[in-house]
């Protein structure tokens, strides 16, 4: 069989090479970031539920909170937003990306393997920043006035909290099948929201549960952010708990992450 020449000679002459690392990393981060913001289900989880809870818990007297209520609700909602994006959303997205062969596709490019994870984490961080801005603005409109001396500790907590939840998301989404990740990630999210120190302060949780919640990344982040943004103090113990979770889950995820 003779095939007609459609391509000029030399069109595909080999000229391989690795792209500049910053360009590769930026391209992957941008793609993942845009896809997260474009995904309706992810937006529900990362934006609409936290905003709904912020407004509801501020305006409705359903939980015993000190006044002004918004000052005590907002740090917990910020913790919820970080957990929703970095853990639940990340785990589900990763599980399905593996199933659809995305990781294998990217691993077949010149992108270093460590960058597959780094790009995802930077994208998660970008989404968290958007969440902080939007939730912060809505909270401010509701009368939130954070303690300025706690902003730096709060930023550190968000950063390490994102790393901790992100590593847990990678651990879950990188090892199990997507069909298992989806219900499991949602179930863990719900458990941590209700009993993990996110919505209910560890002070009002039953004894053993309170002890457990403080050691969980959810409780550590929520309590740490409350201490920073309400009391203006840095909670080093919360930061240590989050760093320990980030390190442990990160090391484990590096061993268990599968491309497909």
């Amino acid at each position: 069989m003779t095939l007609s020449p459609r391509f000029a000679p030399g069109t595909f002459s080999p000229s391989p090479g690795r792209g500049p690392l910053p360009r590769m990393l930026l391209a992957q981060t941008r793609t993942e970031f845009v896809l997260t913001l474009r995904n309706g289900e992810q937006l529900l989880l990362t934006m609409l539920i936290p905003l709904g809870m912020l407004i509801g818990l501020t305006l409705l007297d359903v939980l015993p909170l000190a006044e002004p209520r918004v000052d005590h609700v907002t740090p917990r909602i910020l913790a919820l937003a970080v957990m929703s994006t970095a853990f639940t959303g990340q785990a589900i997205a990763l599980g399905f990306d593996r199933r659809y062969g995305v990781l294998k596709r990217l691993a077949a490019t010149a992108l270093p393997h460590w960058s597959l994870v780094t790009g995802r984490m930077l994208s998660v961080l970008g989404v968290v920043v958007v969440q902080l801005v939007v939730i912060g603005a809505v909270a401010a409109a509701l009368g939130w006035r954070p303690d300025p001396t706690g902003l730096v500790p709060a930023a550190m907590l968000v950063l390490v909290g994102t790393a901790a939840f992100g590593a847990l998301g990678l651990l879950l989404g990188g090892a199990l099948r997507a069909e298992v990740v989806l219900p499991l990630a949602n179930m863990v999210w719900l458990l941590l929201v209700v009993a993990g120190g996110i919505v209910l302060s560890v002070d009002i949780l039953p004894g053993p549960l309170a002890t457990l919640a403080v050691a969980l990344p959810s409780g550590a982040l929520a309590e740490g952010l409350t201490a920073a943004l309400v009391g203006g103090t840095a909670s080093w113990s919360a930061l240590a708990v989050l760093a320990a979770w980030a390190a442990a889950a990160g090391l484990l995820a590096a061993r268990t992450l599968r491309l497909s």
Partner: protein
Amino acid sequence: MSPLAVQICGLVRSFGATRAVDGLDLELPRERVLALLGPNGAGKTTTVEVCEGFLRPDAGTVRVLGRDPGTDAGALRPRVGVMPQGGGAYPGVRAAEMLELVAACAARPLPVGWLLDVLGLTSVSRVPYKRLSGGQQQRLALACALVGRPELVFLDEPTAGMDPQARRLVWELVTALRADGVSVLLTTHLMEEAEALADRVVIVDHGRVVADGSPAELTTAGAEQQLRFGARPGMELAPLVAALPEHCRASEPKPGSYLVEGGVDPQVVATVTAWCAQHGVLADDLRIARRSLEDVFLDLTGRELRS
């Protein structure tokens, strides 16, 4: 520099109790096209995934561009283009976004817009991957494999799910790649694809090489012209064999499909049609031809290629 783009010696790879590849050998010289031909489950994709560095061999050695893909994957990735089976893209990503992402990983990528245009994807460049047709997804996967100007490409079932027009485009592309000095290892279960594109065809079945050679070598080796025809299944062949010249053999390899081998001339054709007439049947789809790769596969394995 190794003269071989791919060299596989005694490759063995199992999944649990199933041995997917069982002592496979093959060599792909640089700037040539090799087709790995076989039915589903023959071990083609496993072989390719070992070459791509995604699977480790249980035994045997594999060299890609002179390197071990298991330990030197990082050095090989920029030099190799991969089109995995089933595409591989975020469900919500637009076609152009996916190609731009892969292009960003290459030092001197082909122009993304041009590649989309050549592959007929410009009109769907902003359509999410999950809404592309199967053929469009395949073409995007092919674009991703080529955009980095690789030295070697692995194309796993590159035309699966494509319409004839798109399939022809891919064939032209592979022909152009070869002409420009790119080595190509493709898998297929389409014998016409292997015959049209490959310098060398390796037929695999149950993880083993059952034949290896150029399409011409495989289809002419040990076989003269054949006469094939269809008729009522189960007709008695003894009278036909008796009437044919001594050097001819007659058989019914599949029910209702008859084959005469051993030298075909006008007398043989006349004998066959006369035999059919005696049975009151018409010799249907009577044709004289060289063996096809499908015939070769059938001869070697006793099974049809598409089974």
